[in-house]
Point group: C2
Chain length 453, copies 2
Amino acid sequence: MNETLKFLLDDAAMPRAWYNLVADLPVAPPPVLHPGTRAPLAPSELEPLFPRAVIEQEMSAERYIDIPEPVQAIYRQWRPSPLHRARRLERALDTPARIYYKYEGVSPCGSHKPNTAIPQAFYSKQEGVKRIATETGAGQWGSSLALAGAFFGLEIEVFMVKVSYQQKPYRRAYMESFGARCIASPSMETAAGRGILAQHPDSTGSLGIAISEAVERAAQNADTKYALGSVLNHVLLHQTVIGLEAIRQFDRANDYPEIVIACTGGGSNFGGLVFPFLGSQLRGGPRVRAIAVEPANCPTLTQGRYAYDFGDTAHLTPLMKMHTLGSGFIPPGFHAGGLRYHGMAPLVSLVVDLGLAEARACHQRECFEAGLTFARAEGILPAPESNHAVRVGIDEALKCKAEGRSRSILIGLSGHADFDMQAYSDYQAGVLHDHTYELADLERALAALPSAE
Amino acid sequence: MNETLKFLLDDAAMPRAWYNLVADLPVAPPPVLHPGTRAPLAPSELEPLFPRAVIEQEMSAERYIDIPEPVQAIYRQWRPSPLHRARRLERALDTPARIYYKYEGVSPCGSHKPNTAIPQAFYSKQEGVKRIATETGAGQWGSSLALAGAFFGLEIEVFMVKVSYQQKPYRRAYMESFGARCIASPSMETAAGRGILAQHPDSTGSLGIAISEAVERAAQNADTKYALGSVLNHVLLHQTVIGLEAIRQFDRANDYPEIVIACTGGGSNFGGLVFPFLGSQLRGGPRVRAIAVEPANCPTLTQGRYAYDFGDTAHLTPLMKMHTLGSGFIPPGFHAGGLRYHGMAPLVSLVVDLGLAEARACHQRECFEAGLTFARAEGILPAPESNHAVRVGIDEALKCKAEGRSRSILIGLSGHADFDMQAYSDYQAGVLHDHTYELADLERALAALPSAE
């Protein structure tokens, strides 16, 4: 009666190379620009921040890039992640749709983030780095890098957005359990942090500020590199293990998705799941409808501008062409902390600009409602971020019902909600609301976008 | 360099029947007695509490009992759970031991508890039950039954020990997300609860009290049954999927454990992992050293008496012969909430009494220390309960090092710590202590043991 089919792969069938969408795109991605000169950045200019192997991947146009064996060995601890057929959810919705979900919550940290934390730590270690500095908002990325640091014997410093540092002591305890050092951002430890605190002593921080602090820390210490958990090409590259596995798993299920849905904050979860499907399509394979789902309160793809912008608040990062709300935009409070970022991965932005993917924005209450429907059918309480994909997945399945058509729908379930129970508690108590940002704030942030000239 | 081997099974190789140790024991288990007459209990006398299929299993001496196909279908969502070779931990300890762990944290609730929640809900549904009442301490069992209730369309009422209800709002939110109703125990909803509150208005509850309330609720409502998450024969039976899988996985790893270690609270995690190995030994297979690890502050096997006792505080349950500290014993505070029970599964008690397993008691600080060592090597932060097994596993591995011998050690990792971060936070802040119970309290509780005559 109640059953969920699971399509696992043998370890032997796990991808041995990551997939790089750049190789199959009809246009070359716009170059990354130096924040001072506005000239295209030379790879060597990134060396203070990233290991050379990572910079090479960031700039690569090779279709496949080998996954180092030590990284594969760690991936095998939880990968391939399961692809489930959500038969109980289908029955609950009474839909003819065939709903699948690819579940990344089986990783040690409960999200997709270790897929890139592990290789980033590996390459740093290989090049003699002692310490990695990074930022974290919701804590999923910081936890994953803390784990990777423990595996490879690297010191990890996590600049944690102050409001999360205060409100999520358990995430902090988790990172510290793996030996990482957490610093509430803005902090007095960096010039960027001190600058913010001088102007706003009560600042509760933002991802943009925390990035500034971590970047500064790496730039000023020869034994320290920086690591980012989303946005950049190499991060999306590492995440493609998700989609590559899914394609093989669909093959085993004798099916193929017509619609592929993932949430987007910085874009790595979306890129990781969707790019291998888009690549296949661009090489003549079956078409997929790719849907990027973002929070209505941080609507980078649906309300932002496709323009050059900084990745951080203090304007220390290079300029990237991306969908952005302006680096000065501070989204109002909502629970999907992993989706609170003013910009979007340049590659995801380009894919949307080229019409290869569509974007949709959802409010948080409708997302939590969908998450509970999913949980009671499938037994997994999705992370608030993942609920965005679940919402649109359920909507598409209900459309199938209205049209009497059986479509195959793939939902990217990026993680579980074990560290997000306050959000579910608030939702069920009826105290979780759909605030909206002030249009004037968005217009001001967009007006302040840098000129690329 | 860093690698963890994983021994999965194909779904097709998953056990299709549970294993019942009673069939292979050299003696018959002592009968369960009626709390009033002290005569052996007739199966029909349990019908107000349990579905008939469950009562049959409770009393069965059949070696194998088929797992119903709908239960197998749900098991397949996360089973077979992985058996990992802990190579990174071996290297961190520099031991010649071969350390393995069987990881139940991959279940939807993050522990082994769904293995029995699913079949118990299935049998209730099959027999037309509308509602299941239960108790929960740490919340792992309540969460698992909430999940099972959502799958089968049953109402779930969870009497949650009041101190947990107050200190673990996230566990409560989790259960409520799956549609369960949580009641702080002692409550005014039952005579047992009202009786306690009349005497102790400030009572923060205990597992024994919560059991009394749930049992009363089921006994007085024809459409309501009771479910227990440990202790009873049928619960241990359902958990044997763990050990049955492990045996097949060791076969695939071309190895076999010399030592099998699991933590014990009520005994279902221990029985589930260890009984299939003991059964194989009793039928002429290889010998294993089975070690049950319990908290030094609730030392049922090492300091309790092997005697008839009640399972609850209000003395509503039948009398079982088991290792017990006395149903009036209240253990001092410690973080492994799943191990805070005055009694022990009658089958685990018998196995220890027969010398087929040994028992060891550990204090919580040494367990958390071991848990952090494990986490930094293997990437999984174990539940406080599981840390007890990890502690002894590491001790045995270090003994191998001292003796220069390579032994194969299997650790039962019953769950992860996502909902136990306060404990890790306290440990790392140095505010987690090893309180000890008062000997006089234990002596008083033991002196009050009922006579079986």
